[in-house]
Symmetry: C2
Subunit: 206 residues, 2 copies
DNA sequence: GTCTATATTGTGATAGAC
DNA sequence: GTCTATCACAATATAGAC
């Protein structure tokens, strides 16, 4: 095969997707117009409909990306075979790193979760996300006496809450505590990794 | 004064405000049309512009309400003179109660925080919200040796995260862990009050 | 595949009768 | 104060030339 199949086409499709990610994730479905996405991608409005049939379909592609991006990244760490306390330390650090690099995704997902739970259900069906992995791992560790007996669901939500909300509410916290200083807040989040890890580990020690 | 001034007018204005609260908070600024609000209020579209000049002005009224409703309610508990551990227990319980009764407000606020930080700044200026109260109280308790030395801002964010995110992400968590069972999730949140309180208190004990 | 032009519907907002 | 009718514009989406 000498020809590179659809090389040009794929490039345009990717330009659209990248532009749509940026604008949709920052402004939401209704807060975004097709014109904005076309401008961001540097192409014509009609091309959006050529590659994706409708605004909804384009949004679904972006939402699927964002959801799969933010949820299952940490499964690999969870099923690795290091000590549970090390796992938690790595999950907190890597998850917070990822969130800091994608600051708008948490509020974007939270908004969509509440605005359209049905779409969420579709996406979850199609993706290989397996929350049981985390529950099972914690139950296993409890059996072995490595962590204190407790509801593993509460523990999972504790970890996620402490990582996600400081990013989802960043502009507010940043203004209240740091006078909108960007670097100061990033430093605050960096310090937070150890604080959250210690916080969690202390709560599960037998 | 025998006449009840603007009795009829106030009633309509309130109907509009209540309808706007419901629709805006569930669907956001751009996700809501003036027609939806008028339908919800059972009145004509034009009346919205008669009482509030524009969609933005009506939204500002709703956002101000939601923001002032969710943020400063717990200041009173904080400045009361009971023991700090009792304060935290009461704050967690009352705050989670309030959030459970207003399930859509957290994601609504988080979305607006990211979408329009400037509006947030205006609202905060106008309201009497004083985050320093919490910082000062914790610093004071540290001086007296009642709680372990730590960054009070991290502590405040820990408490808020553990209370807010489980409500903001309710439809997702509910589906994953409880198969969308409403009562089961409310029970889960009810149990959570004690878990979060113990969690926090353990982390601040000297 | 990419563009221009256009169809069509929905939006926020206003004018004016009552 | 409340309604009907209507404006001006922006939105998604499509048709058709190239």
């Amino acid at each position: 095969m000498v020809n590179i199949p659809e090389a040009h086409s794929l490039s345009t499709e990717n330009k659209i997707l990248e532009a749509a990610k940026k604008v949709f994730i920052e402004q939401g479905l209704e807060g975004t117009s097709m014109q904005q996405i076309a401008d961001e991608a540097g192409i014509n409005k009609s091309l959006l409909h050529y590659y994706f049939r409708s605004k909804e379909k384009l949004f679904d592609a972006v939402f699927t990306f964002a959801f799969q991006y933010i949820v299952p990244q940490i499964e690999d760490i969870m099923v690795s075979d290091c000590f549970i306390y090390v796992k938690i330390e790595r999950i907190v650090a890597e998850y917070m790193d990822m969130l800091m690099k994608n600051q708008f995704i948490p509020a974007f997902i939270l908004h969509e979760i509440n605005r359209n739970p049905d779409r969420l259900y579709q996406i979850m069906q199609g993706s290989g996300i397996r929350p049981e992995i985390f529950v099972d791992q914690f139950v296993e560790e409890m059996k072995h006496g490595n962590i204190r007996p407790a509801d593993p669901r509460q523990l999972i939500i504790n970890i996620l809450s402490l990582c996600i909300l400081p990013v989802a509410a960043k502009p507010l916290i940043q203004r209240i505590f740091f006078n909108t200083d960007e670097l100061a807040y990033l430093h605050f989040l960096e310090e937070r990794k150890k604080i959250v890890t210690d916080f969690i580990i202390q709560s599960i020690q037998p």
